[in-house]
Subunit: 360 residues, 2 copies
C-alpha cells in the first residue's frame, strides 16, 4: 500500500489517522457487536456518536447557544434552494455577492424563489478579486445577504467577514469551514458540504440563528425545513449515519491537532509557501489579487500550456494526484485543505521546481 498526496478539490484527502480508526472500527464499534453503519439511528450507540458530533463542532467553532446545528443531506447545492425557502419569511428578495462559479450557482437557484439581487460582482475582473465593499448595493428590504466565503474553482477567499448592513448574513463555507477562526455570531446562517474540510461527502452542515427559523415556505419538504429538523435533532428521517460518524472522527482529529487556531497557523504556512513558489517561478502564475488568494484552493497556470499534459503525467508518476484545474479555468489547481500535511505541500513545491528546471 502506498498512499499518495491527493490535491482533489472535494471529495478530498482525509487525515490518515481518521481512516485508520474507521478501518479498525469497521466490524465492531466499541464492543457494540456491530459496525456504526449497522446501528439503529435511534439506538443508544448511535445517539452517543450523534451527540458528540454536535458537541465537538460547537466547541471547535465556538457556536453560540442561540444557533441550531443541523446535519442534513443534499449538498450545498440543495441549500441554494432550501435557504430562500427557509429564510425568505414573506420577503420577496435576497442579496448576493458574486465572486465566482459557486456564487453564480447560488444566485441562479435562489432566483427561482425570489428576486436575487447581485449587490456586487467581480465578474468583470474574471473573479480574481473581491468587489470593493464601498460599492456594494445592499437592499435593506432583502431577506438576507449571501456570499461564498471561499471560491473553490477560482481560488478566491474572503479575508474578512462582510458587513451585511443589518441583514442576516448567509455564507457558503463549503471549502473553508474549520480552516480559519470565524465569529459565528456575525452570521445568520453558515452552511457547508462536508467533503472538503470535514469528512466524506453526504452531509451538509447548517448552522442557523434560531430567530430566523420557523417561518418556512409551506411547500418546503420537512426534511429540509430547519425548524422541523432542529426539533428532531436532524433525525426526522434516517440520517446518513455512517457519514456523521466519519465527520465526528475528523472533528476529533482536528481537536487533537490543536483546534481551529492551530490548523489556521498551518494553513497560513502551507498557502504562503505554495504562493511564494508560484510567484518566484517564471513557469507558474496565479491570477488572483494577493490579499484575496485562497488558502484552500491554489489555481496556477503554466506559462507554456503545451507543458500541461506532461506536468500532470509527471506529477501523477511522482505521487501527486488530482492537480488538474477545473475545466472552466484551465491549468492546475492544488487544493490544500486541513488534511493535507505540510510535507505534502513542500513535496509538491519541490516537484514543481524540479519540473521547471528540467522541462521549461
Amino acid at each position: 500500500m502506498a498512499r499518495i498526496y491527493n490535491f482533489s478539490a472535494g471529495p478530498s484527502a482525509l487525515p490518515e489517522a481518521v481512516l485508520r480508526q474507521a478501518r479498525d472500527e469497521m466490524l465492531e464499534w466499541q464492543a457494540s457487536g456491530m459496525s456504526v453503519m449497522e446501528m439503529s439511528h435511534r439506538g443508544k450507540h448511535f445517539s452517543t456518536i450523534a451527540e458528540q458530533l454536535e458537541v465537538d463542532l460547537r466547541e471547535l467553532m465556538a457556536i453560540p447557544e442561540n444557533y441550531k446545528v443541523l446535519f442534513l443531506q443534499g449538498g450545498a447545492t440543495g441549500q441554494f434552494s432550501f435557504i430562500p425557502l427557509n429564510l425568505l419569511r414573506g420577503k420577496t428578495k435576497a442579496c448576493y455577492i458574486n465572486t465566482g462559479a459557486w456564487s453564480e450557482k447560488a444566485i441562479k437557484d435562489g432566483g427561482r424563489f425570489c428576486e436575487a439581487i447581485v449587490s456586487a460582482s467581480s465578474e468583470s475582473e474574471k473573479f480574481t478579486t473581491i468587489p470593493d465593499v464601498t460599492g456594494w448595493q445592499i437592499d435593506p428590504n432583502a431577506a438576507y445577504l449571501h456570499y461564498t466565503s471561499n471560491e473553490t474553482i477560482h481560488g478566491v477567499e474572503f479575508p474578512f467577514i462582510p458587513d451585511a448592513q443589518g441583514l442576516p448574513l448567509v455564507a457558503d463555507m463549503s471549502s473553508n469551514i474549520l480552516s480559519r477562526k470565524i465569529d459565528v455570531s456575525q452570521f445568520g446562517l453558515i452552511y457547508a458540504g462536508t467533503q472538503k474540510n470535514m469528512g466524506p461527502a453526504g452531509v451538509t452542515v447548517v448552522i442557523v440563528r434560531d430567530d430566523l427559523i420557523g417561518e418556512a415556505d409551506s411547500r418546503l419538504p420537512d426534511v429540509f425545513n430547519y425548524a422541523v429538523q432542529a426539533k428532531n435533532q436532524s433525525m426526522l428521517n434516517t440520517p446518513a449515519s455512517y457519514n456523521w460518524y466519519l465527520v465526528g472522527l475528523v472533528l476529533k482529529w482536528l481537536k487533537s491537532a490543536g483546534g481551529v487556531d492551530a490548523i489556521e497557523a498551518v494553513n497560513i504556512r502551507k498557502a504562503a509557501s505554495l504562493y511564494d513558489a508560484i510567484d518566484s517561478s517564471s513557469l507558474y502564475t496565479n491570477p488572483v489579487q494577493t490579499e484575496f488568494r485562497s488558502r484552500m484552493n491554489v489555481p496556477f497556470i503554466l506559462s507554456d500550456a503545451s507543458l500541461d499534459k506532461e506536468f500532470l503525467t509527471q506529477a501523477e508518476a511522482n505521487g501527486f494526484a488530482e492537480l488538474k484545474g477545473h475545466r472552466s479555468v484551465g491549468g492546475m489547481r492544488a487544493s490544500i485543505y486541513n488534511a493535507m500535511p505540510e510535507e505534502g505541500v513542500n513535496a509538491l513545491i519541490e516537484f514543481m521546481a524540479e519540473f521547471e528546471r528540467t522541462r521549461a
Copy 2:
C-alpha cells in the same frame, strides 16, 4: 471482537464480507493511493465504481432500458415530496393505498402538493392486512397510484404487484427491494432508501420510467429533479460517494450469493421458520393476516407484556440486538433483511423457545 445478530429495522445488519472488504480497502482502493471517500467524484477511479453500481443494480433487478436509475439523497421521506413535484405534470391529484405508518407519511407529505386521494386503507383493521383490491377507488385522472410494498413498522407486505388501472404505479420499496423478484416494467417509479437491503443510510435509489420525467414543477430544486439528475448521472452535485461504493459492495455480495432469486428462497425459509415458531408458541403472537405477513419485518407480541423487559434484556445478553418493537406498535420486531443469515434467525427461534420454556 464479537459480532452479534442485529435485528435493527434500519440502518441494519450488513453482510460481514462487505464490511471486511470495506475495511481492507479503507486506506487504499485498488492501487489508487487513496480511500474511496477521498476520490474526486469526477475522477477515473470513482467513475468506475459509479458505473459498476448502476450496471449491477440493473442486472440484479432486470431493469429495462427505458428506465433511469438514480442515486439521490434525502431518504424516502424526501421522495414523499419530490415524487409529486416530479410526477404531477400538471395534474392536481394522486392516489394512495394506505397500509400502515409509511403509507400515511407518504399521503400526508404528498397532500401538500396535490389532492392525495386514499384509494383504499386497512386502517380500520389496524394495518394487519392489505385492503381487498376489488374495493380500490382509483381516480383515472390522478397522476399516479402510490403504495408501500412493505410496511416496516406494521410488518405487512404486498405478495402481488397492484393493478394501477392505467396509472403509473409508484412504490416505496425501502424495506423489501432486492428481497424478492419483481417485474420492474409494471412500475412507473420505484424508490428506496438504501439502509435496509442495500447498504448504509445516505442514498435513495429512484428507478423511473423515462417518459414520466422532464415535466417537473419549476419550484423543485435541481438536485431532486429526476430529469436533471438523469442527464448528470446523479452527479449534478457531489454525491454521497462512499455510500455509493458501499451499496456497490452489497450488490456484488448479492450477485455472488446467487442474485435475487436465490436470496428470495432464503428469505422465504427464514420468514417461514420464524412465523412458524411464533404461531406454534403460546407466548408469542403476530397479528398480521397470514398471506400478507412481511418476509422482512416480523413484529410479535408477548401475551404477557410484563415479560417484555426481561425478554429484551435476556436477548441482548445472548447476542440478539434491536428486537424492541416500534413504539407505535409495541412488543418486539425482528427485521430479517437479506444480510441476516439463516443461522441468525434459527438462533433467535431457539432463544425464543428457551425463553418461553423457562420464563413463561
